[in-house]
């Protein structure tokens, strides 16, 4: 499957990664090469094969729906690029 530059630009937008136009041809070639190599999976008959999602049969555990940690506002905000009055400061969302 060859990806064209428009498709790469669309995926980059979906992934929220800024990609300059001059990088698109190179990325399109690299990603096409990887996907072309992956195409060999088409040779494998997977009719009636269940997809493997959990590799070890570890049962899901449930716990009581209670707060187990919290009240650590200072810890949580310590790494924020911008914080004020106990809140994260983010760029304006609504113009």
């Amino acid at each position: 499957m060859a990806l064209d530059e428009a498709t790469v630009a669309r995926i980059a937008r979906l992934a929220r990664i800024e990609v300059d136009d001059d990088r698109l041809p190179g990325l399109a070639a690299e990603l096409s090469n990887i996907l072309g190599w992956v195409e060999q999976l088409g040779e494998v008959d997977t009719e009636n094969v269940e997809p493997l999602r959990a590799v070890m049969p570890i049962p899901s555990r449930k716990r009581d729906d209670v707060v187990t940690d919290g009240d650590r506002q200072d810890d949580v905000l310590k790494n924020a690029p911008d914080a004020h009055d106990g809140f994260y400061v983010v760029p304006r969302v609504v113009e």
């Binding site: 929220r16 999976l41 070890m56 570890i58 310590k78 790494n79 304006r92």
Partner: protein, 492 residues
């Protein structure tokens, strides 16, 4: 005068307990060695003050006869484990300045066991790579060189800093993480041992996530027994990881001393790939002979879907990565590159914060999960993953352990492999199938190639049967008598 950094973990442990040596002296010897070899770039962050304080506390416990399992043993911590109060980078620009307010379960267990933290070891960015050349903090140099030209080689990846530090005597052992071979391949490239346990053995809590259905922590050290001692301290149930197994941790150290007579060892035909390096084939045959000579029974086996493991992995791992790495948005921690609005800030932060290989994988993963392609790529890869796991499960009804080479080549020079990403991915051809099946596996040095570089042999076991992997690994180790250290390393 004993060369403190030449001691194995097991030897140092015995001497510390006998009070022949002191943890502070052992730690200082490693800190001095680290300062001498910063050119290898094995550590992103050194923590000498923390190390000496931890060593001091260990000495006090040892003096009082209250030794913990790894008391006073100085280790390197892969910089993918969150360490409370110590910078954690995952080798990425996007985590600039991130100082976790909590400790990962595995690192916490090691500190509770008395291990001393020398620092955070370098790695490929977000553990994505097989040569440790994608770290934002620069490439790591392998302590080994080809004696003929003495030029720098890559240490393998992604746990390349840990591997270089263990091989170059900049720590007595180190942690690694393995998603598709990131412990075993660098162990092979640097002439050390490395074990990835069964998926679910070690908690993933606090490990920066790459591909959650594959990521496992493990141990890297200079001997099989040292790996067992480390892994015993790292493994165990953790309610904070939903895929952590509620199982007791066996006595893996004892397993290292058990004989292999009667053990059934499988040799998979599909690992003898076209164009295989004859020296890799030779060390594999040597490994077979070593186990046979110790009474193991060798059986030819078939794992028919082996060749599809790599392409399946390069859909599954990037798909999971694209989802896991969505959290890096520049709002709550790490790098923020301001744009005109929120969307542009996200895109600029991620465009500058992620390196080329990480961007490639996030883009592949985003594509594979996008509308219209999910079934063709992601679902297909998960079905092939089932067939690969089934191959192993069927085989393990007839054999106890599988022996293969660890990697298709010895360590190489940066740029020596084609710049093509697919060519780099082929490094993991022998390690990825095991990862997809969640099985325990380890690499043990088998010998040197014609250029004087180490080559590893891989042992693969049944689910939860690390004991047999270690037992067979120790048998290879006994026969290989691999006691060569990287050339130029100061001898005592």
């Amino acid at each position: 005068m004993v060369d403190l950094t030449a001691l194995t973990l097991a030897d140092a442990r015995t001497r510390l307990r006998a009070r022949d040596i002191r943890a502070v002296d052992l730690t200082q010897a490693y800190l001095d060695a680290m300062a001498r070899r910063r050119d290898w770039n094995a550590y992103v962050t050194e923590t000498p003050e923390k190390a000496l304080a931890m060593a001091q506390a260990a000495d006090e416990r040892l003096d009082a006869g209250e030794a913990r399992p790894l008391d006073g043993l100085p280790i390197g911590m892969k910089d993918l484990f969150c360490t409370e109060g110590t910078l954690t980078t995952a080798g990425s620009h996007i985590l600039d300045g991130f100082t976790p307010p909590y400790e990962s379960t595995v690192s916490g267990k090691l500190w509770d066991a008395g291990a001393v933290c020398l620092g955070k070891t370098n790695l490929d960015e977000f553990a994505m790579g097989s040569a440790n050349i994608t770290s934002y903090h620069g490439p790591v140099t392998n302590p080994w060189t080809r004696p003929a030209d003495n030029k720098p080689l890559v240490p393998g990846g992604s746990s390349g800093g840990s591997a270089a530090a263990v091989a170059g005597r900049l720590c007595i052992a180190a942690t690694g993480t393995d998603t598709g071979g990131s412990i075993r391949q660098p162990a092979s490239f640097t002439g050390i041992c490395g074990i990835k346990p069964t998926y679910g053995r070690c908690s993933r809590f606090g490990i920066v996530a790459f591909a959650s259905s594959l990521d496992q922590a493990g141990a890297m050290a200079r001997t099989v027994e040292d790996c067992a001692l480390m892994l015993e301290a790292m493994a165990g149930f953790d309610p904070n990881d939903s895929t952590s197994a509620e199982m007791a941790v066996p006595d893996w150290t004892a397993a290292c001393g058990e004989p292999v007579a009667g053990l059934k060892v499988g040799i998979p035909a599909e690992y003898r790939v076209d164009g295989m390096d004859p020296e890799i084939d030779a060390v594999w045959r040597q490994g077979i002979d070593w186990l046979k000579a110790q009474g193991a029974e060798i059986k030819d086996i078939s794992l028919p879907h082996t060749k599809y493991a790599l392409p399946a992995y390069y859909i599954i791992a990037p798909a999971e990565a694209s989802s896991n790495l969505a959290r890096y948005d520049g709002m709550r921690y790490g790098l923020r590159v301001k744009g005109k609005n929120l969307a542009e800030t996200y895109a600029k932060t991620r465009g500058e914060g992620f390196g080329d290989e990480v961007q490639r994988r996030v883009l592949i993963g985003t594509y594979a999960l996008s509308a219209g392609y999910y079934d063709a790529y992601y679902l297909k890869a998960q079905k092939v993953r089932r067939l690969i796991a089934d191959d192993f499960h069927k085989t393990f009804t007839g054999v106890d352990v599988i022996l293969t080479p660890t990697a298709p080549s010895a360590a190489f020079r940066e740029g020596e492999k084609a710049d093509d990403p697919v060519a780099m991915y082929l490094n993991d051809v022998f390690t990825v199938p095991t990862s997809l099946a969640g099985l325990p596996a380890m690499s043990v040095p088998g010998g040197l190639n014609g250029q004087g570089l180490p080559l590893g042999l891989q042992l693969i076991g049944r689910p939860w049967d690390e004991a047999t992997v270690l037992r067979a690994g120790a048998a290879v180790e006994r026969a290989a008598k691999f006691d060569v250290t990287p050339y130029g390393l100061e001898q005592a």
